[in-house]
């Protein structure tokens, strides 16, 4: 990293990203192999992974891994807020703001050939969308997944057909998650022409000043004025 750069993701964030990515890949692979179990490719994958019981074990192992990663992240946030007295609500934080909606509208206008690119700050609206999709998605998937894992216990206090409802939510949310994470997130974060072939920032955690200037101009300006957050 000879070019001047700025810390963007902490070591913890980077490790958790890899864990979530691997866990999520495993979840998608095993889950959809079960769902499409009648097709030849799913049977080939199932054969490799030990049939239905193997898929079930791996699915749960990946789920625990992924969920744990998200929980560790939330625990870090709590520690950051309570013990380190950090701020979570700044303009450079991950919380959604009204400005993000305005950015989305302006960005789409730019795509259609009207107006300039918005002055993105540290985290753009699509990065926030990616982040919150995981936080919300993992909790819906986790909760409905627990119902499917321990149906006897849950039916102690809720009607049995809630298992059906949990199953549907689990399925549709899985389709959305795969469609977004395996396609949109990969394309937008790595494969789109401006970052092709890969954005390595999430692996080494840094972003060059050059890129901040062009892709996060609002952030660069804030940094120059001494009010932006570096890491």
């Amino acid at each position: 990293m000879s070019a001047p750069s700025l810390q963007r993701f902490s070591v913890l964030s980077r490790v958790l990203h890899i864990v979530v990515a691997l866990g999520f890949f495993g979840l998608g692979l095993t889950g959809f192999t079960l769902y499409f179990g009648g097709t030849w490719w799913a049977q080939a994958i199932a054969w490799c992974l030990g049939g239905a019981p193997g898929l079930a074990w791996l699915h749960r192992a990946c789920a625990i891994m992924t969920y744990a990663a998200v929980m560790i992240h939330l625990a870090w946030l709590a520690y950051y807020k309570l013990a380190l007295k950090g701020r979570l609500t700044s303009k450079d934080g991950m919380l959604p703001r009204a400005q993000d909606v305005k950015d989305l509208v302006r960005h789409m206008g730019w795509m259609l050939g009207k107006g300039e690119l918005p002055q993105f700050r540290r985290f753009t609206y699509w990065e926030k969308m990616d982040y919150w999709a995981v936080v919300i998605g993992i909790n819906t998937m986790g909760l409905t997944g627990l119902v499917l894992w321990f149906p006897e216990w849950f039916s102690g206090f809720m009607p049995g057909y809630f298992i059906n409802l949990a199953l549907i939510i689990h399925l549709v949310e899985a389709v959305i998650a795969v469609a977004i994470k395996f396609v949109i997130h990969l394309v937008v974060a790595h494969l789109r022409p401006q970052v092709w072939p890969a954005d390595q920032g999430i692996f080494h955690g840094r972003m060059s000043h050059e890129r901040i200037k062009t892709e996060h101009p609002g952030h660069w300006q804030a940094l120059q004025e001494g009010e932006g957050e570096g890491s």
Binding site: F32, L34, Y35, F36, G37, G38, T39, W41, A42, Q43, A46, G51, A52, P53, L55, A56, H107, M108, W110, M111, L112, G113, L148, P151, E152, W153, S155, G156, P159, G160, Y161, I163, N164, L165, L167, I168, I169, V172, V175, I176, A179, I180, F182, V183, I184, L186, V187, V188, H190, L191, R192, P193, Q194, P197, A198
Partner: protein
């Protein structure tokens, strides 16, 4: 290094496209299955390999054999002069008392079950077409194999029971039990007869009865647990099944709402990304052009 990453990602792209194409099974409609096994002909090779391969014709068809050697054949056998004999089903006309000689337990359980009751009443199933099944509707008397394993038997149940109960077979295959058992061949999953019973074939409408079926694998199952809908379909539901009907509607409604939501979210994001890529490609092309 950089070159390597690039190639890797290209291949990943291809894999993604391929898997998307595979997920889409493509529309189509099932064709009518070929005619059943009530053929006039016996394939001796298959017969000899079957469970009854060591029996002679006369051991199961004594009347025909007797009529053939003494008395007029036409009395016991299809006759060109009697058109009705040809249109009648030999499968249904057979004297299944012959089966009882060796399969007494199955015979008794069948007679306690719903299929025998429907047969006695003489009524047809709700489709109004197919009469209640007799032995040979489900069991192939000439070619049926002995000592099949649990998964093979279970898969055959989905096909055979599903011939008259297609909606139930389809919903079973969408259910975890069907996915793990029938599709992926896990022998510890539940197949048709594991819940509904072999030969007596209960419909499990009563919660207590259903809970007992669940308890065979889920010891902690309660009647409330048994409210789980394995077959979310309204086909064959009577007026006494109002509660299940409502649950099925609830399940369908949630599925429809969530599907529309998913289509909107994913559709918007795909359009958004597509447009974005077009615009960035254009910028890149212009930069290179200069």
């Amino acid at each position: 290094m950089r070159f390597g990453t690039r190639h890797h990602l290209k291949r990943l792209n291809l894999a993604l496209l391929l898997s998307l194409a595979l997920f889409w099974a493509g529309p189509g409609w099932a064709e009518a299955p070929p005619a059943g096994e009530a053929s006039w002909f016996i394939d001796m090779q298959r017969f000899a390999a079957g469970a009854h391969g060591k029996l002679s014709c006369a051991e199961c068809h004594p009347a025909q054999e007797k009529a053939n050697t003494s008395g007029p054949l036409a009395k016991r056998h299809p006759d060109a002069q009697d058109a009705k004999y040809l249109t009648a089903s030999a499968l249904r006309g057979y004297d299944y008392g012959q089966c009882k000689r060796c399969h007494r337990v199955a015979w008794e359980r069948y007679n306690q079950g719903v299929h025998a009751a429907a047969l006695k009443k003489g009524d047809l199933t709700k489709s109004g077409k197919q009469p209640a099944p007799v032995c040979a509707n489900c069991h192939d008397p000439h070619y049926g194999k002995a000592r099949r394993d649990r998964v093979e038997l279970g898969r055959q149940q989905t096909v055979i029971c599903g011939a008259c109960h297609p909606a139930q077979a389809a919903t079973y295959l969408e259910d975890y039990h069907g996915q793990a058992g029938d599709k992926l061949g896990w022998d510890q999953s539940a197949f048709c007869s594991d819940c509904h019973g072999a030969h007596d074939c209960r419909s499990l409408q009563k919660p207590q009865q259903a809970a007992k079926a669940c308890q065979r694998c889920h010891p902690a199952a309660t009647p409330r647990f048994a409210q789980y809908v394995v077959h979310p379909t309204t086909v064959d539901l009577g007026p006494e099944d109002a509660a299940k009907r409502q649950r099925v509607y609830l399940i369908w409604a949630l599925g429809a709402v969530l599907s529309v939501f998913a289509a909107c979210v994913v559709g918007f994001l795909y359009g958004h990304s597509f447009l974005w890529i077009l615009r960035e490609l254009q910028h890149k092309l212009r930069r290179h052009g200069k």
